[in-house]
Symmetry: C2
């Protein structure tokens, strides 16, 4: 069926709930978003899973892969030893043009490494970075880099800004995304020496609208559309937020159970609680984007269930439709031209 | 009245709700925790405030200071221009031995600088650091440094570990505090180059029980008793957690108001909600400790009300009673001996 121009490869064996939830989510995604999905994994297992679903009118193709890199396994060792691992074969589908995008819910390290090794970087991008759409009361902010690069140079942050800006403009239809530097104070001159240098570079660059420093609390309150940072800080910010939410959820649950009155209150307030929790649920977002790769790469939570995978397919489709890659490629190229031109002038 | 051996100086003019809430909290703290408080600020204003309270049987002394460093003011300029600023006079009370501890709710920068300039560092401590007791479902974790030093060397983290360990052992009665390094993965070898070096140094040091890396989410789930990090990362972690909680609170409120059913649920569940919110409320904690200063220094939120100040006085009293300073001083000294001895051996 060639009536699905957009094809997304899904590592059907990745994550805690593979293959059942992954296949289920992929089938739902194919139907809801009108894309073709390539399910990567052992054909016998995947065929059996697919039989549980109505695949009438949707395109779900199985791509054989005999091995799986487990969640606890070292990505480096896994990728070296298991050449027919589902995550590698998934990345190769993108490399070969059989799919424009990939979705992976297993080990983040293995997914990043496979994308980097088998799909490759966009020319001019020094380091691909993870962009995470944060939950927000009003407008969502894209945090980039949320963990791909533990060590960054300040220069890399300008590329993260370019990529984040293009993503938020083209996929989230923000006219002029406000790009901020994640820092520990709003005033110019705040932060460590890395932040000072990054600020200067970000301020000079004309490829996006830089609004200066933003703080951790602005990330969730609509203070910026894109927040750039190194992957160490970004990952700590993300996991701290996740941690405190988990703690608050556990506290709330324990407190609600304490008396008959609060138990009744809980039952009545349940729709509001559920709606609120949905707003901060990573499954709702679907997955993070590994931006800077020559193919759309969406990395989902290891604990993703069908809903998470379905949403990840939406995220991948949106990035393909908006031609995020082509636009990043062009603008990174402009940046190279700009820098080359600048160095000629000096 | 010399029957109060513990004396805490309070900057009565600091923060958004000074002097009313500060004086009120100081009076409550003096009564509840049996300490003498020195209220620093313009005598006429403070006398008028004190008259609103019953001060029978408690010791509240006014220490004159004619100027105030405002919240928005640059701490550097403020401290240079206003030599009789209440925060400076508060620090001087500690320096002169008129108080063993100080509580400040105004500009964090001005409080830190005053403590450093006018009270001074404990000998051997390279940099004082902010320790924040994080809210938790089970056991609280002390995050240190939460923002005093944007740029740190890996060596500083070993001193933060010593100080945090002493505080949690002596004030929170934890037999053998578990000291972790805030990182982006639990396995050894995770993180950036700074984290790698810090890990090696922390592992070698025998003055505390190092448990390896901890992640942002462990901070709130009882994964460590002390989490050491540089002040940039620590501050981002703290503010991201604050931000997401603020967002979730606003979302929950909006969702609860949506229908009659959820409104009723809210009314019934209110005690549970309030109890949960109390657990994550900075006012409850009272304030952060600036550890490494030759006097107890508690820095409260700029928005602190009476309850926050009262609790900050408790935090200060606890640190004085446990002789945290004396113990830090001894153990930092041991560290110096150890390093000197080690260099002799080489």
């Amino acid at each position: 069926m060639a009536n699905h121009p957009i094809r997304i490869a899904v590592d059907a064996m990745g994550g805690d709930h593979a293959p059942q939830e992954i296949v289920s989510g992929a089938v739902q995604g194919a139907r809801e978003y009108g894309v073709a999905v390539l399910l990567v994994g052992p054909p016998d297992i995947l065929e059996a899973e697919l039989k549980k679903h109505d695949t009438n009118g949707i395109e779900c193709e199985i791509v054989p892969a005999s091995e799986v890199i487990e969640m606890g396994e070292s990505p480096a060792t896994g990728l070296r030893k298991k050449k027919d691992a589902s995550i590698i074969v998934t990345a190769k589908c993108v490399k070969k043009g059989e799919a424009q995008g990939m979705v992976a819910a297993g080990s983040t390290g293995a997914a990043m490494a496979s994308a980097l090794l088998y799909v490759g970087r966009i020319e001019g991008v020094d380091r691909p970075a993870i962009g995470v759409l944060l939950p927000s009361f009003s407008k969502s902010c894209l945090l980039i880099d949320a963990g791909a690069n533990a060590d960054c140079t300040p220069e890399m942050l300008t590329q993260f800004a370019v990529m984040g800006n293009i993503y938020m403009h083209n996929v989230h239809n923000i006219d002029k995304p406000r790009v901020g530097l994640l820092n520990i104070g709003e005033e110019e001159g705040k932060g460590n020496s890395f932040a000072h240098t990054a600020f200067e570079l970000l301020e000079k660059d004309t490829r996006y609208h830089f609004i200066g420093n933003v703080e951790g609390r602005d990330l969730f309150m609509g203070g910026a559309d894109v927040a750039v940072t190194d992957g160490f800080t970004g990952n700590v910010a993300l996991k701290s937020a996740e941690g405190v939410m988990k703690m608050f959820g556990a506290t709330l649950k324990a407190e609600m159970k304490r008396t008959v009155r609060t138990k009744m209150g809980y039952l009545l307030a349940e729709p509001a609680l559920k709606a609120s929790i949905k707003r901060v649920d990573p499954e709702e977002v679907g997955g993070s984007l590994l931006l800077g790769i020559k193919g759309v790469c969406v990395i989902s939570h290891g604990g993703s269930k069908a809903r998470g995978i379905k949403n990840a397919i939406r995220v991948a489709k949106e990035a393909v439709v908006a031609d995020v890659l082509g636009k990043i490629s062009n603008q990174i190229r402009e940046g190279i031209d700009f820098h080359e031109h600048a160095s000629e002038l000096l």
